[in-house]
């Protein structure tokens, strides 16, 4: 089961819905890993005739099933960074009536949502659905380094090495949660790392 019910949290923390098919002049679908399942659930032949799917498998094997949907355009790439220029061009080229569907992990949803907002896509034309890992994209508030797919809290910054408390405070502009030093007032006293929702 790839669906996870997030507990209630603070107001900056994103909430996600369920993708639903909508009428549109074109459909841009960006997903990673189990996010493919959300596309498979929502896809219709009509939609696929006007769809561009950008997919980052992250070691999963949904690629063949997505291709079998026969979208008008299909791309599979190794990371969001690798897909970023293609995503930027897709938004640059977008016309009125585009519907955007984002699914998978929070890191990919957040970055793609940011790109869509920057491109001027109205928020009412963007749907999101979380699937799969609850790992987070996180910014260290101290060194500003971004780490993808943070699964534990506390987490040692992969850039500056400080031990960080992974907060629920979230910046849509950075598409990242905030990490703040956890042992600043008691150096060395770092609780054992646990899964973020364990």
């Amino acid at each position: 089961m790839s669906k996870f019910a997030f507990p209630p949290s603070m107001t900056s923390r994103p909430v996600y819905g369920r993708l639903e098919p909508r009428a549109g002049s074109a459909h841009l679908m960006i997903a990673d890993a189990e996010g493919a399942e959300a596309i498979l659930d929502v896809a219709t032949p009509d939609m696929m005739a006007k769809a561009h799917i950008i997919y980052i498998p992250k070691g999963t094997d949904f690629g063949d099933r997505l291709r079998a949907l026969s979208p008008a355009q299909y791309y599979e790439g190794p990371s969001y960074a690798a897909a970023e220029q293609r995503i930027a061009k897709a938004f640059d080229d977008a016309k009125m009536g585009l519907q955007v569907y984002l699914s998978g992990t929070e890191g990919v949803i957040g970055q793609a949502q940011h790109a869509a907002m920057q491109a001027g896509v109205p928020h009412t034309a963007i749907q999101t659905e979380h699937r799969g890992s609850t790992a987070r994209r996180m910014q260290c508030v101290h060194c500003k380094g971004i780490t993808e797919d943070v699964e534990t809290d506390p987490f040692q910054c992969s850039h500056c090495g400080l031990h960080l408390f992974v907060r629920d405070h979230y910046s849509r502009r950075l598409a990242a949660f905030q990490g703040v030093n956890i042992d600043a007032e008691d150096p060395g006293n770092v609780p054992e790392a646990k899964g973020i929702y364990e």
């Binding site: 603070m10 107001t11 900056s12 923390r13 910014q139 508030v141 101290h142 500003k144 400080l162 907060r167 629920d168 405070h169 910046s171 849509r172 502009r173 950075l174 905030q178 703040v180 030093n181 600043a184 007032e185 008691d186 150096p187």
Partner: protein, 356 residues
């Protein structure tokens, strides 16, 4: 009166100090012997003579040294001052508001000479005399918001108003109570307040936003907020928390009176005329516990407020671990006598402390 500007530091050797005049006008934030969040807004239309409420932008003895500290912070981390592209006009609005206010309120310190869009600004305490073209960024050494807030005490959040919300789209934030402009820029009112406990459930932010959305030109508002800081450190940023957090553990029963500071924010809110943005200056005043306890009413009240504050708030404000030490110190002054209502020291009517 003429202000004697202190030569002092807010870091390293912490030579910051308050004169007797500064102590008398310190904005003690507790109007009764307990504290809970409220939307404690009032009009910002002056106040008692020589109080911090009297002028639109209070200038005090710490001005020159605070601006020196701000320059140090900005050299180290330029991201403390940011303005999204659509906020430049609001920056000019702010520059005009501050230059007009300060030159009218402190004519011996600041001068503004305007001839059409050709402006000359004289800031005597900082030795600045600049001529520039209003609304032409190329004629100033910084963007308009950065230029004027490098010369004005307090942090500045410049909020865009749209979609019935306020958006933190520009700011000069170097003396913040542990929040990051670089992280929060672009957030709406509810998002940037997201980490604050209890207040959302109490409906504080919904009511505060309603009030702020309706602030009109020429009718600014104000409120006080507070926290506690160990040492007179202005830059209590999350960015540098891994460096200053350890200072919280440096107090002893002998030093708590000198090192523990009450940090009070005078928050004011002004509507800006061209951009319809809202500027939110957050002015920080610091006072050590040992100086506060020289005022009998404040000595009694501070003890009671700190003692009775809910644990969630003491945790959020970051002093729950030090609270027992603070209470040991403060309780030696609290003689149990009643206190008068309101924030003012009431030195003429409140009895001297019976203990301490």
């Amino acid at each position: 009166m003429t202000i004697q500007f202190n030569d002092e530091t807010f870091r390293d050797d912490y030579s910051f100090h308050n004169s007797d005049r500064a102590l008398k006008r310190f904005p003690f934030p507790f109007h009764e012997d307990s504290y809970m969040y409220s939307v404690n807004m009032e009009q910002h239309q002056g106040g008692p003579s020589d109080s911090i409420y009297e002028k639109r932008f209070d200038v005090d003895e710490h001005y020159v040294s605070e601006m020196r500290d701000r320059a140090i912070v900005l050299a180290d981390d330029p991201l403390r001052c940011q303005s999204l592209p659509h906020m430049t006009l609001a920056g000019w609005d702010l520059l005009e508001l501050i230059m007009v206010s300060k030159s009218e309120d402190y004519p011996d310190l600041f001068e503004l000479h305007r001839d059409g869009d050709q402006w000359r600004w004289v800031n005597k305490p900082m030795g600045i005399d600049d001529s520039f073209t209003f609304l032409d960024e190329a004629t100033l050494p910084y963007g308009p918001m950065e230029y004027i807030t490098r010369q004005t005490q307090g942090d500045f959040a410049v909020l865009d108003q749209r979609d019935d919300n306020l958006w933190m789209d520009a700011g000069m934030i170097t003396t913040q109570a542990d929040w990051s402009l670089d992280f929060d820029i672009g957030m709406n009112f509810f998002e940037w307040h997201a980490p604050v406990p209890l207040a959302h459930e109490k409906g504080i932010f919904v009511r505060a936003l309603k009030f702020l959305l309706n602030i009109q030109q020429g009718a600014p508002a104000r409120r006080l907020n507070w926290t506690l800081t160990v040492n007179p450190l202005l830059d209590t940023s999350p960015e540098n928390y891994h460096k200053w957090g350890i200072q919280k553990t440096s107090m002893t029963p002998e030093t708590v009176g000198a090192k523990q500071h009450l940090r009070v924010e005078l928050q004011t809110f002004f509507r800006l005329p061209r951009s319809n943005a809202l500027v939110f200056p957050i002015r920080c005043y610091l006072c050590s516990f040992q100086d506060l306890t020289k005022t009998p009413k404040w000595a009694r009240r501070l003890h009671r407020v700190i003692r009775d504050l809910p644990d969630e708030l003491a945790t959020y404000k970051g002093f729950i671990d030090n609270r027992p030490m603070m209470l040991d110190y403060l309780s030696q002054f609290d003689d149990g006598l009643p206190t008068s209502l309101g924030i003012w020291p009431d030195l003429d009517t409140e009895p001297p402390l019976q203990k301490g």
